[in-house]
Symmetry: C2
Subunit: 212 residues, 2 copies
């Protein structure tokens, strides 16, 4: 294995350990010592990649960066749907993404700027909606900024409710209900009729994203 | 002051102290000793009202019981809107309600059944939507159960985003955006046109509720 590959794998191991300790103990109570023990790496290796607990948290938070690897679709609104569906899939299957979202919503995480993910998701959604507007996909009254924010807030709550009630099993179903309620208020009728909002879109889009 | 009034006030004092300690330290780290110190009551007084930390948490959680004191309106959908608006007002102004909602969303609160508030809110919303259906207010395809759940999840996330970005200052505005997006998908056109979904509905409905 090349040196660089090893470094990438070590970084990933450390991030996964940090994620698991943040999950178990909460950000506030977590310690670097505990993260070292869980990761099974040397102090030197950890500090080569991360300078502090805040830095580790920032690394975990960046694992939910918006819009990673969503395949292009005929409409921008379908891509907006797919970003949510793909995140639903990753929340169910990737512990690091899961930890990242929970960290964003951990109000005991003092000293950590938890506004970042809200703002970045909102900006990402707005880019999709602005592009949708340029392509004539949106009803004329839509305010992309307000709708983008609404998607972020609603998603944050639905994933939390889903996690509490079913450990994410029903998240794709809940997202589908959200889309069926929101899209008629923002999409032009012809676009609306073309959208795939089914819950199993999550698995299908994840397969396509993985294959590409 | 009658004996009973004093007991009610003491109970309230203890709950407010518990709420403030849960807020500051998180549920997991909070101790009865700290709550006693904050409340300034005797151990005997506390244990007369609450048997354990779990019991105190249950008391705080019950402070967001749905549908408290919303004045009757011409349509059930307006009442559904008003329940959300009133909760937005109370989140901004009542520390006990604020602590209750945060406790529901504190995933470090192991051993606490946090599903209760989600399920109770969902049932309450469903009662409004079932009544709305009986009065012919809903579009024919609406599934009251799915829509009720969606409102709970979306609200949970919007209040969290609002708390993170503006300490609840913009919550009524965010709720108004939610209603403007959801109501066209569920309300009959004549009902839709009659709804008051403005952000300042929150303050107005709180004044009416307080006066009644």
């Amino acid at each position: 294995m090349a040196k660089q590959d090893r470094a990438i794998r070590t970084r990933r191991t450390i991030l996964e350990a940090a994620a698991s300790v943040f999950e178990k103990q909460g950000y506030q109570a977590a310690t670097i010592t505990e993260i070292l023990k869980t990761a099974g790496v040397t102090k030197g290796a950890l500090y080569f990649h991360f300078q502090s607990k805040e830095d580790l948290a920032a690394g975990v938070l960046s694992e939910q960066e918006p819009g990673q690897g969503v395949p292009p679709q005929p409409t921008k609104l379908q891509e907006l749907v797919d970003v949510g569906m793909l995140l639903a899939y990753r929340l169910r299957t990737d512990p690091l993404v899961r930890a990242s979202v929970r960290l964003t919503l951990d109000h005991q995480a003092h000293g950590l700027d938890r506004r970042g993910p809200f703002l970045r998701w909102s900006e990402a959604n707005q880019r999709f909606l602005d592009a949708a507007a340029r392509q004539g996909e949106l009803l004329p009254h839509v305010n992309p900024r307000a709708t983008a924010d609404l998607y972020v807030g609603a998603f944050a709550g639905l994933q939390m409710m889903s996690q509490t009630l079913s450990d994410y099993e029903d998240l794709a179903e809940r997202l589908s209900v959200l889309q069926h309620h929101l899209m008629p208020s923002i999409a032009m009728p012809a676009v609306l009729a073309s959208l795939d909002l089914a819950p199993d879109r999550a698995d299908r889009i994840a397969e396509t994203a993985a294959a590409s």
